[in-house]
């Protein structure tokens, strides 16, 4: 396969989407001081699915992504990714499981001291042990995919927010993750730059097998790409279903309230 992400142009969106369970959270609890952000949460995501987490701020959506990326640890519970335990686990186990997961941040978090190409090749070379020229060839393909083929040598500060976020997406994909975590990736962008980034993600969702977990306030985007929408409130999933059901015919009063406030 020549392209970097698991590209499959023949694919019917209905195929390949039932590769079994990829992510499982069991009875996961996370507290910050007295504040219980996640309260004995259970949920799982099947391989290849695109799952969107919606809900009021402070409801624990971002915390789930941060737990999966091991940026924070739960207080209780068990997290499994692709059959391997992520929590509780040793540092060595965590490093192995983390290879399967990529994340794109609200604030991009590109390394400002490195040119764009190096931002993308650093981890494939040092973590996956890819030869430098191979990593660079892949990085160029990815930059082409995100529409920034001419920005290899630019530094992040020379790019717009939208361009930085595209590089961040390319950087995450360069590690060939099975799961891509998207944490409010357009919230820090100027309004005119949002559409471009969302279109890119729609493309990736349509043409790859990557499992996606999105926290977003872009409800149209959520409706377009999701196989499943989870509505969060106070650290619990209060409603779950297809985007058609959640957006058109929500059952829970809190979901209705939330959607009427944001739509």
């Amino acid at each position: 396969m020549s392209t970097d992400i698991q590209h499959n142009p023949e694919k019917n969106p209905a195929d390949n989407r039932s590769g079994g369970e990829l992510i499982r959270l069991e009875q996961v609890t996370k507290r910050f001081g007295d504040n219980t952000v996640l309260d004995h949460l259970d949920f799982s995501v099947e391989a290849g699915k695109h799952v969107t987490l919606i809900g009021p701020s402070g409801s624990g959506k971002t915390t789930i992504l941060r737990l999966l990326m091991t940026l924070t640890k739960p207080d209780e519970g068990r997290i499994t990714v692709d059959g391997e335990q992520l929590f509780p686990a040793t540092e060595k186990q965590i490093r192995e499981v983390r290879k399967k997961i990529g994340m794109v941040f609200q604030q991009f978090n590109l390394f400002p001291n490195m040119p764009v190409l190096r931002n993308i090749t650093e981890a494939p070379v040092t973590v996956l042990g890819l030869p430098k020229d191979e990593a660079e060839a892949r990085a160029r393909e990815l930059l082409d995919l995100v529409g920034l083929a001419d920005k290899c040598d630019a530094y992040p500060s020379q790019l717009s927010g939208g361009q930085q976020q595209r590089v961040a997406i390319a950087r995450a994909l360069a590690m060939r993750p099975k799961v891509l975590l998207l944490d409010e990736v357009t919230s820090a962008l100027d309004p005119e730059l949002v559409a471009g980034v969302l279109d890119l993600l729609r493309d990736i969702a349509r043409t790859t097998d990557i499992t996606m977990l999105c926290v977003t306030h872009e409800m149209n985007f959520a409706r377009d790409i999701s196989d499943q929408v989870l509505m969060f409130d106070s650290g619990r999933v209060i409603e779950t279903g297809s985007p058609e059901k959640i957006f058109n015919d929500p059952e829970n009063d809190r979901t209705r309230e939330f959607l009427s406030a944001v739509l």
Binding site: R98, Q107, N113
Partner: protein
């Protein structure tokens, strides 16, 4: 009191010797303080209190005792334990050590100023911790602290005359020697005063150029 150009000319050979010693002390003292300060700063971030506590105590002690006392201690007390270095070596080490306890605080501030998102991105990419320090955190931290480190270079320059106290013939040492031999104080002291200003000025120009190069 009258200005005697002949005295200036007579002082010049000694002045060059003294200048060389001052510049050596400054350059080596800077290198030591920059390197050692970074080591202290990194050790202070160790997870174990068995590391941070002794490092904290030692550096606090060095920072809060006078450089002159440290010079005397290293020069006169260490030889009693069989540890002997030349006066200049002792002086360079003392200056470097003393100022490393200041530069460590500069580094600490620089490291803390690197946004937490940089650590998180490195974790998300599974970069090993040592690699994260080397290619992500330190390059950004050090870039931020170059101006502050530069200020300590100037401060160190102004402290090099203390080396005279342990028999090092820096610029001031040479000026004093010349004065005592010739009973002419004005000319040599004026010459080295001007030299100190020029060195400070050149050093600040150099640092500003470095700062510009480091900013993207």
């Amino acid at each position: 009191m009258k200005w005697d150009w002949q005295a200036v000319a007579d002082f010049m050979p000694q002045f060059w010797d003294g200048l060389l010693v001052t510049l050596q002390a400054l350059a080596l003292g800077s290198v030591i303080s920059f390197a050692l300060g970074l080591v202290w700063a990194l050790l202070m971030r160790a997870p174990s209190r068995w590391v941070t506590w002794p490092v904290g105590v030692v550096t606090e002690f060095v920072r809060n005792t006078p450089l002159l006392v440290q010079l005397f201690f290293l020069f006169y007390v260490l030889p009693e334990w069989g540890i002997t270095f030349s006066a200049l070596t002792t002086g360079v080490f003392a200056i470097g050590l003393h100022y490393s306890t200041y530069t460590m605080q500069v580094y600490r501030a620089g490291i803390e100023a690197v946004p937490v998102g940089q650590w998180e991105a490195a974790t998300a990419l599974n970069l090993p911790v040592a690699r994260t320090w080397r290619v992500v955190i330190l390059p950004q931290a050090i870039r931020r602290v170059v101006p502050a480190l530069g200020n300590y270079v100037i401060a160190m320059l102004k402290d090099t005359p203390l080396l005279m106290a342990i028999t090092v013939l820096d610029m001031l040492g040479q000026a004093r020697l010349f004065s005592q031999e010739n009973f002419q104080f004005t000319e040599p002291l004026t010459v080295i005063g001007v030299a100190f200003i020029l060195i400070s000025y050149l050093a600040s120009l150099l640092l500003r150029a470095l700062e510009r190069r480091l900013v993207h």
